[in-house]
């Protein structure tokens, strides 16, 4: 590549990412490693004195004395964060958490934690329903215990059959459970 009279040049390349897959397919949040600009050359085991390397056996690279950049700066940009996501932390830090764009100054590892708000909301709902069901289980257990005690008492004294009370009056917990189950089912279906 030919440098201009000021000793400058610009090149642009573009390619389809081969392995940098979409994250957050499962789970509510994940650490996203974007890129690690890890010059200088001392990162390679083959580096020589003064941050140089020859790569003698590499195709395309062999025979040239390579140097790390004397200075390194720039920018990494992904774009606007979609509404359903939120960024909880980032390295380097972001001035605006809704826009993924970082300045590079020297070797930099760019990563951030992305949270899927929809999945977080779903987990909170599941947690609430689980709490309701646990309370229901406790109530059933108490009711079962009460039934066992009542049965023991009935064997000692004959009690006349109750007249008049409705099914809901006779089985308040069971009725409540059925209503609650219906509410939970409707709630989950709406999600």
């Amino acid at each position: 590549m030919r440098l201009n009279p000021q000793g400058q040049a610009t090149v642009i390349t573009v390619g389809t990412l081969a392995n940098q897959h979409a994250y957050l397919e499962d789970g509510a949040s994940d650490v996203v490693g974007v890129i690690d600009v890890n010059s200088p050359i001392t990162a390679l085991s083959a580096s020589g004195p003064g941050g140089t390397c020859i790569f003698p056996d590499w195709p395309y690279l062999g025979g040239v004395l390579w140097y790390s950049p004397a200075g390194l700066g720039g920018e990494v940009s992904i774009g606007q964060v979609a509404d359903r996501f939120s960024v909880s932390s980032s390295n380097p830090s972001l001035a605006d958490l809704s826009v993924l764009s970082w300045q590079i100054n020297g070797p930099t590892s760019v990563n951030y934690i992305l949270t899927d708000n929809n999945k977080v909301h779903g987990q909170l709902t599941d947690s609430f329903i689980a709490g309701v069901l646990a309370a229901l289980a406790a109530a059933f257990f108490v009711e079962a215990a009460k039934g066992a005690v009542d049965k023991g008492a009935e064997t000692e004294t004959e009690v006349p059959a109750p007249v008049g009370p409705s099914y809901a009056d006779r089985h308040p917990v069971l009725t409540g459970a059925i209503v609650l189950a219906a509410v939970v089912a409707v709630f989950r279906r709406r999600r």
């Binding site: 590549m1 030919r2 440098l3 000793g7 400058q8 040049a9 090149v11 642009i12 390349t13 573009v14 390619g15 389809t16 990412l17 081969a18 392995n19 940098q20 897959h21 979409a22 994250y23 957050l24 499962d26 949040s29 994940d30 996203v32 490693g33 974007v34 890129i35 690690d36 600009v37 010059s39 390679l44 590499w58 195709p59 395309y60 040239v64 390579w66 140097y67 950049p69 004397a70 390194l72 700066g73 720039g74 940009s77 992904i78 774009g79 606007q80 964060v81 996501f85 993924l100 987990q123 947690s127 689980a130 069901l133 646990a134 229901l136 289980a137 059933f140 257990f141 079962a144 069971l174």
Partner: protein, 129 residues
């Protein structure tokens, strides 16, 4: 008896729901950050690197055109713009971008459709011109 059955059933469903509501972290997520190593053939050269992620790109005779920005995740295509400074005036500069640890690109092209060499060695893919 029915209450015992209901106790067991609701307890089981409560457990299932608690389990579903537990925070889940993908064990196979991007636990490796892709690497980029920049090299040049002149000691004094400084590099300004601009990396942008887009949904897609199109390569035409007029040049490269890009789709919308990737958005929330680094997916799609990656544009790498390199600005070289402080080189020897009117000289020939060689540069190389080594991409590794899952940071590879398929069929990379340069501006004006020029070829970008790529290879594979020890997990690194060099782009050199």
């Amino acid at each position: 008896m029915i209450y015992l059955i209901l106790t067991a059933a609701s307890g089981w469903f409560a457990f299932v729901m608690f389990d579903a509501s537990a925070p889940q972290q993908r064990p196979t997520g991007n636990d490796v950050t892709p690497n980029m190593l920049l090299l040049t053939s002149q000691r004094t050269v400084a590099v300004n690197v601009i990396v942008k992620y887009y949904r897609w790109y199109q390569s035409t005779a007029e040049g490269l055109t890009y789709g919308p920005e990737a958005g929330s995740l680094p997916i799609g295509v990656r544009e790498v713009q390199l600005q070289f400074l402080n080189g020897k005036p009117d000289s020939t500069l060689q540069y190389s971008v080594l991409l590794g640890r899952n940071g590879a690109e398929n069929n990379p092209v340069g501006q004006q459709n020029e070829q970008v060499f790529s290879g594979s060695r020890a997990g690194l893919i060099p782009l050199i011109a």
